[in-house]
Symmetry: C2
Subunit: 371 residues, 2 copies
């Protein structure tokens, strides 16, 4: 019986924790464990539920508490991690504390290139606005140069690159700039909604209602080696999908790097030789599996959500006693809960993705002249 597990991988996952639902580490931990990774979860907040409910209770870890937990691991020789995945931290000082952990692990692994890999999700905002304090941005900007792979969304990529993404050309420009400014060897920009972009350039557009994921592993001259995957968008907002993406990417990238042979995994930052075309990059192959798993899980989540909302609508009592405001609040809570990712019951799609998308080589040559 095949277990469908990726090669043994010890991950330090630093992100938020919620009691109910699946975001941050409460998403990433189970996703990586399902694929066979040993996950040490260092939680940066302890909340009752995700903030999309518009109300929650709980506490944030201070920078000192984050540092202390890591020092606890150090003093007992419990830092033999192959990968660190860092996500949300609740303040600039906390981001810096997480950064110091990544740098320390990197320093410890310095004599063995490729033995430690840092995946950084620079959680700062979405949809055109920051949801962290302003001082978190420079904290990330200082830290990203140490990461091996970063996973900004479209807005975060704009913040980091200083380039407004309005077209496929400016998207490629932003990735190129991120490679250049931060010397970060791998980048994936998750969830680009190309429909919202101007299609004035000559690059073929994806069909309507598709999301585009663009990634790149740098070449030895520092240039971008771009690939692109288009996936159908689902008509629903789910919380935690960025964390699901990051966690699956950790496991699948490690798997793809192992599949490429011992030389690559003993290379600093797992950067493939220049002759590897973008569609054959481990990062591209990993992204295909990641998006396939996600699409299956989210498709089933949407079905379950629709069924839950329909059945709840049938039984909901008349709410004459509630103010309009209170009725709207209750309806928001109900819809938010119904959209929680159905993670655990669909774990088989994490372990065994049905690859249903294609990766496109998206080298500079294909891009319009204005790039």
């Amino acid at each position: 019986m095949s277990d469908l597990l990726v090669p043994e991988t010890r991950v330090l996952a630093v992100a938020s924790h919620v009691v109910y639902g699946h975001v941050g580490n409460t998403m990433a931990e189970f996703v990586m464990q399902s694929l066979g990774c040993d996950v040490a979860a260092l939680n940066t907040v302890h909340f009752s539920n995700h903030t999309g409910y518009r109300q929650f209770k709980g506490t944030r870890a201070t920078a000192q508490e984050i540092t202390d937990l890591y020092q606890g691991l150090c003093q007992s020789n419990l830092t033999d991690f192959d990968v660190m995945l860092s996500g949300y931290a609740p303040s600039a000082a906390a981001v810096e504390a997480v950064g110091a952990i990544g740098i320390d692990l990197q320093t410890k692994a310095a004599s063995k290139p490729g033995s430690f890999f840092w995946v950084l999700d620079p959680v700062m905002g979405d949809q055109g606005r920051l949801y962290v304090n302003d001082d978190v941005v420079p904290a990330y900007k200082k830290m990203i140069q140490h990461a091996d792979l970063i996973l900004p969304n479209q807005f975060e990529a704009e913040v980091l690159s200083g380039i407004k993404i309005t077209s496929l050309a400016t998207l490629a420009e932003a990735i190129t700039a991120i490679h250049r400014i931060y010397k970060v060897p791998h980048v994936i920009i998750t969830s680009v909604q190309l429909l919202k972009l101007s299609h004035s350039d000559s690059t073929p557009s994806p069909p309507d209602n598709y999301l585009t994921v663009i990634g790149s592993t740098t070449r030895s001259d520092g240039s971008a080696r771009l690939f692109r995957v288009d996936v159908p968008a689902l008509d629903c907002f789910f919380s935690g999908t960025g964390d699901m993406f990051a966690a699956l990417t950790v496991a699948r990238l490690r798997e793809a790097v192992f599949a490429a042979g011992p030389e690559l995994r003993n290379t600093a930052s797992w950067v493939s030789p220049d002759e590897v075309v973008s569609a054959d990059l481990p990062l591209a192959q990993a992204t295909l599996k990641v998006l396939s798993s996600m699409h299956s899980v989210l498709e089933r989540t949407m079905e379950a959500r629709n069924a839950e909302l329909a059945s709840a609508a049938l039984v909901s009592a008349p709410s004459g006693d509630l103010s309009v405001e209170e009725q709207q609040k209750q309806e928001h809570l109900r819809r938010t809960k119904a959209a929680e990712v159905r993670l655990v019951r669909n774990a088989r799609f994490l372990r065994d993705p049905l690859v249903q998308f294609a990766v496109q080589d998206w080298s500079k040559e294909d891009l319009p002249d204005q790039l």
Copy 2:
């Protein structure tokens, strides 16, 4: 493809969290998720590692923080739990806060018998000594009457029953007393080392180096309905096995109760009719699968531990610079780390137990006269 999942189950798990390794919720959450349970983990401490290392860093949640997190769930209608599993809480006030959560969930479910079930692990001590403050004991004693199933170890059963367990007869007496004093319908005493007991009574002893697990579901007259499973003991101490037992029991008991048909699961506390003999109890059938999964995982853990210790011994540098005390400390840390349960890579044994033990009906008739 069978998923090997138990019926859909929403669990609120209240216990400790560690970054590295698997104890408390860091054990129970993944175990229950592997079997398909949706787990909401409310963490009572946030430590770097388990206390068996003899050093750790981190913070304890206050009773107020525990209550706040639960209030956060309540205010957003996120309390639709089928089961609560409560374990370690770091103070008497925290134990009481956890108890109030269990009672509140029970009250909310009062109109639907069987729709909520509380599994309580009264974590107080082991091997003849308390490792909590003295005031935790009365806090548990007040709370247990509300639980549906409790999972004390031998020492905790002695504390709760007031009966010193020195023989199979006194073991049965302790369970009978727990049913009587606390009106708790299901009890399992985990990890009884019968080798240490006097075998002066006439009940057949298990072979050498076996652990005995004794359980009971009460009859309608309040008497015990005892069953017993003997399992080979492994020659190694593992942390978190009590939490593994509890988590597997939640999932497997729910599965067995569903298999018994809709009547039982709509009965308060899932108490089987009197005519069901002890070996056929859902609790007994669940225990068999639980112990089989555990034995497979721990057997593989011990193999991996032995290999790790052997290989580390080969490469360990001369430690001439370290004091004897420091060498001993490093050796203890190394051995403790090596004995961490190999949970994630062996998840298939959680999902698909190879049942290799037998359950024995152990009714009063078989017990010696002195009972």
